[in-house]
Subunit: 333 residues, 2 copies
């Protein structure tokens, strides 16, 4: 297990979205988020105390979590000095990057010499099966988005909190590094070998009690050409009883893909539901989660109201308003 | 490079489809397929000479190609004695299985001691990029199927032969072990890490001459829950200008998935085209390839005729009739 609490390393994040690993920890396990460490030019801020390594160590932090992602997932040269010094100060390191701490000769040797742990939460540690497509017991809901990074993980974490408060048995099922860092388990899906993607999700969400809900964290988007295959493996491996559609209405284009237009929620419903029904003919769309972080309170309410009218589905922003509406929609199925 | 000619090892293939690696080599590079070696109970037959290891060696074969796949891709215990003896006889080994020859301690040590080569054609040897979705020059066609193993590779290989005969520049682009064993290059897509699947296909099919066609071998099916994510990565990474729909009309259920009904060509057209247009808005469906191996000549003609009428698209069985119709359809685009 990763030692807590954490010092969250935000590096030189190019925008707040790049630090979504840190944001997730801060929002869902605030007791782990003791402080943040930012490099010059960092465009992200968790709104918690800025600390240097020694201050954080003295305050009790024991793991430096790399809370920022860059395109391609490598260990940036500008981060290296900090990571080295962290190990020397006493910290373990935890990372969800594609390129592993344990594969970096300098960091691996230094950690070994000093007796520190390197946690690469993105490394699959299980020999996942090939998906068998056999119907499973229990209920599953999957968050699918019109784009990447629109709030699919937040939606599922908020649903977990809300459903548990209502005495509905529910388990968040992490499929990415942030979720795994938050909950301590899951499938690092984007690092799984192609043939075993859907099987890894079957493994993650096995038979369960009839009234239990698995809340499966979505990844990518059916409309995002870089990662859409991962999304479809989730839809077919997850065998969901319900989908929650997730959307961020202010994107100028698909994340990281200038020239690729963001599709509508209607487009998503039309494409995602028939695909989901391949794995579970009874799958329905339960509701819509709108990420209104870039809208005013009034605009957010108006947008959500219009969405409910246009799609005929309950809609809300689970972060701003809580996930009550979505929990009710699932409970009513 | 893998030494030729080959002795094709069919093992204890449970049905002819399980030996599709061997069948592909025999059909498209018959000059490499010197003989076959079958174990008791083998349900596949290439129609070439049965040879034991010594006979094949004396006849000039230099590599034993594992021409059979089993579910999960492991080295079966019943194969091990043959592989050992092959190395001792003088053969190199070539395999497209998920589990690698080079990771098998016994075979790796024996090969090293005897100076034989172990070729694992399924191992990605390139650090593929993440897909960028930028429009590319040249033309690309992708084969998509209603199920796995319906003839997508055959369709593209037949198209390559036909288009080259018509002086149309065309390149088969292999995405699986058989294709790689046949052509000597390609992307072993089902062994690629999830995040890099679409990028590996962009890498495989870069900018080309405006009149050149890449003929991209399909994998899996959008309707096959075990592998659908791989299929969608091909659709979005391949950025095809045209799709060829592939179908085998006699399947009782989806391959390996009892209880999962095979969808129609109409269903496939309806789901695949909008997804392809996410990556290339101008993509069209160029034609249909029907695998009629289990139909009589009359039934095959009737089925193909009905398919043309129902879908309003040119259809043929490229293996039985040649791929002329499909080549014409592509040339007309």
């Amino acid at each position: 297990m990763i030692k807590t609490p954490y010092l969250l390393f935000l590096g030189d994040a190019v925008d707040p979205l790049a630090a979504k690993v840190a944001q997730g920890i801060k929002d869902w396990r605030p007791e782990y988020a003791l402080g943040q460490l930012r490099l010059p030019g960092c465009k992200a801020d968790m709104g918690i105390a800025d600390m240097d390594l020694q201050q954080a160590w003295d305050a009790g932090a024991r793991t430096l979590v790399i809370g920022v992602a860059n395109r391609g997932g490598y260990i940036s040269e500008s981060w290296r000095a900090v990571l080295r010094e962290a190990l020397e100060t006493g910290f373990d390191l935890a990372s969800g990057l594609h390129n592993l701490l344990q594969d970096d000769p300098e960091l691996a040797q230094l950690a070994a010499r000093l007796g520190r742990d390197l946690h690469d939460v993105r490394v699959p540690s299980v020999a996942y099966p090939i998906a068998g497509g056999i119907p499973r017991k229990g209920k599953r809901v999957l968050a699918v988005g019109t784009d990447c990074s629109v709030g699919k993980m937040y939606t599922c974490l908020a649903l977990e909190k809300e459903m548990r408060a209502r005495q509905i048995p529910a388990s968040f099922r992490a499929t990415g590094q942030t979720g795994i860092l938050i909950t301590g388990g899951g499938v690092p899906l984007d690092a799984v070998v192609a043939d075993f993607m859907a099987g890894s999700i079957e493994w993650l969400t096995p038979d369960n009690d009839p009234d239990h809900w698995d809340l499966i964290e979505g990844q990518g988007s059916l409309f995002h050409v870089s990662y859409s295959g991962v999304t479809l493996a989730l839809i077919h491996g997850g065998q969901p009883d319900a989908l929650i559609l997730c959307h961020e209405p202010t994107r100028p284009h698909m994340r990281g893909l200038p020239g690729h237009q963001v599709r509508t929620l209607e487009d998503l419903a039309q494409v995602a539901l028939p695909l989901a029904q391949v794995a579970n003919p009874d799958c329905v769309i339960a509701g819509v989660s709108v990420n209104t972080q870039h809208l005013s309170e009034d605009d957010a309410r108006a947008y959500i109201g219009e969405t409910e009218k246009n799609l005929g589905l309950p809609a809300c922003d689970p972060f701003r308003q809580g996930a009550g509406k979505l929990a009710e929609a699932l409970a009513a199925l």
